[in-house]
Amino acid sequence: MNKPCCIALAALALLAGHALAAPVVYISSEKDNALTLVDPATLTVQGTLATCKRPRHMQLMPDGKRLLVACGESHAADIIDLATRQSVGRLPLGDDPEAFDIAPDGKTLFVSNEDEGTLSYIDIASGKALKSVAVGKEPEGVKVAPDGKTVYVTSEVAGLVHAIDIATAKVVKNIKVGKRPRRMAFAADGAELWVTNELDASVSIVATKDHSVVHTLRFEVPGARAADITPVGIAITRDGARAFVGLGRANHVAFVDVRARKVTQLVLAGKRAWNVSLDKAEARLYVINGLSDDMTVIDVAAAKALKTVPVGRVPYQAVVVE
């Protein structure tokens, strides 16, 4: 009587262990209060995971074991344990948090509070707000420089990227970029900051040494008018060679040769292709389509869409956990 039970349990544990080790893609959707889990092997939805209200930006904790999900209406981040795929706690993030980044030491989180127009410093261990810096209205993208000294935040209304000295919590430079700057990524080992301008059909390339705009990369899509090219999401490969930019209502993703600052390919995705995420091997790009409630998975080498998977309502971002 005893034996079969234990065998069954052991088998269950083995099964569970196997399932939990398998890679999975988490997708946040603003209107679902839940994350969608997609199996990257089969590109099918495995299920959903309830989370806090209006989940948007997601990022792995530096230990790689937990996922933070910023929730605009919960004024907090949900902490998801990746081994058990369960919510294990909340981290208060202040009013209406949108996007965040974590300092290289893993101790401090910097979050944009969209309504207040502030960038807040959050101590991850204690959950306490340490400092708050006033910035332009509708702050969005947040990026900490690799050296951990400067944090950059975009203001959609002001059309600025604020460069903030982390130690003094002071804005050291307001960098004028294009209209409605959204997201950022570092290139050239942190020497360049690439900023997407949603209402300017462009990316502003900022030299981080003096915070000057050194180049503006403009996008063109055959058959689409400039007004319909609304770049938001950006990802750059670890070697800094290639960038991927979601062109919004032009429904394409631009593949960019970073050093040449030239678009090499345009890949068709879904309606309002915006946030983009790479897997670890940088072989696949997961593109969120904000207006068609789905996600297009692109084979990077072939520059072709493999499949488009229905996800949640008003999807925001994908994070690949491997």
């Binding site: 509708e138 002001a158 004028k176």
Partner: protein, 386 residues
């Protein structure tokens, strides 16, 4: 009378920032006693009517631009003046010009607006008047319009009807002069988009049984076959009570039912909820289409100063005309060179939700789909700009 004039001339000024290297001074001219803002009218909250003073929107745009202005090393100072008559508005405009204002903003009746634009050389931003005449026969080279014109609103609705294939339209229009002009705009839009006018009938607000043919919705909408009823009611009271009281089970559009507006507080896309929330926090009321136009007017001032931080006024005027603006409607907005109108998408709303936007999908234009709303360049209706 003297007291009134003195009161009217009293500038309720508030300088946003201390004079910096270059401060753009702007003066907003509004009616001293604005019948549109009487308490009982505001309480009705008719769609397409102002919800409060224009200053609220302009001020919000300036307040939230602090970083942008600081980064450019410049500032915008806003004055507002109440004018009791056309002549007072004209005098206020000239006085502001003399006192160093670089831009005027107006939320005035159409003939007052025209008079102000004629009295000064400065750019005049019309944030509150939708009259087509100001964009056509009465247009001026220095007059710019933030609020969509009546024609743009009518075209937007007509496009929505085309998209639904609700092709046969019964038109009901009210007794005022404004109703007559706006009904003509509605008819022109029906024609432009190939819709059929089944009948056009006047209505009147009345409980008099002898006038029931004019006042009773069942009688007004009976005896005809139609896909939609388009009601033109600048006042608002009749239109509001028309849906669900038609003889046939058909939707009402126009000034009730489905309405085309520059903005609605329930719009959920493109950062609109943040704008609405900031406005509600600052002004303690929901953000209407008029408030949006005033807010974009403020944003136009900021964009001009940022484009030419040191001025002079000529450079600001040039930047005003040429700048692209971000009005949280998902596309860049710009002024049409041929009539000074800000091209923009319109929202289709029943007052509870934004159910769509115009231009609707599939309506094409050789250059910019936004120019399917309102007067297009080849029509050459504004002689002062051609």
């Amino acid at each position: 009378m003297k007291l009134r004039a003195a009161l009217a001339a009293l500038a309720v000024g508030a300088v946003l920032l201390p004079a910096a290297a270059a401060t753009l001074r702007a003066t907003l001219i509004v009616p001293a006693d604005d019948a549109r803002l009487e308490r009982t009218r505001l309480e009705r909250a008719y769609l397409g009517h102002p919800g409060g003073p224009a200053r609220d929107g302009v001020q919000l745009a300036l307040d939230e631009a602090r970083f942008e202005l600081d980064a450019a090393g410049s500032a915008v100072a806003l004055d507002s003046v109440g004018a009791a008559t056309l002549d007072a508005a004209r005098a206020a405009a000239q006085q502001a010009e003399k006192a160093g204002a670089a831009v005027l903003l107006t939320d005035l009746p159409a003939d007052w607006t025209r008079s102000v634009a004629e009295a000064v050389k400065l750019p005049v931003l019309n944030v509150g008047n939708a009259a087509d005449a100001l964009r056509q026969a009465d247009c001026r080279a220095n007059l710019w319009h933030l609020l969509p014109s009546e024609r743009m609103r009518a075209d937007a609705l007509a496009q929505a009807l085309v998209a639904r294939r609700w092709s046969n339209v019964l038109l009901l229009s009210g007794p005022s002069a404004s109703d007559a002009t706006r009904a003509a705009a509605a008819q022109a839009a029906l024609k432009r988009y190939g819709l059929k006018l089944v009948a056009s009938k006047p209505f009147k607000l009345s409980a008099d049984p002898r006038e029931r043919e004019l006042a009773n919705p069942l009688l007004l909408t009976g005896g005809a076959a139609y896909d939609a009823v388009w009601v033109v009611d600048s006042d608002g009271e009749f239109a509001r009570a028309l849906p669900y009281r038609t003889a046939l089970p058909r939707p009402v559009v126009g000034d009730a039912g489905l309405t085309a507006l520059a903005w609605h507080a329930q719009f959920e896309r493109f950062g609109a909820p943040q704008v609405v929330r900031r406005f509600a926090k600052a002004a303690q009321r929901p953000m209407t289409a008029h408030d949006w136009a005033a807010w974009v007017g403020g944003r136009a001032l900021v964009a001009a100063v940022v484009a030419a931080p040191k001025g002079p006024a000529v450079a600001w005027a040039k930047a005003l005309a040429g700048n692209d603006l971000d009005g949280s409607k998902g596309v860049t907005l710009s002024f049409r060179a041929w009539d000074g109108q800000l091209r923009q998408p319109l929202l289709l709303t029943d007052g509870q939700a934004v159910v769509g936007s115009a231009p609707v999908d599939g309506i094409l234009h050789p250059r910019n789909a936004l120019d399917t709303l309102g007067a297009d360049a080849p029509e050459r209706l504004c002689k002062a700009r051609s």
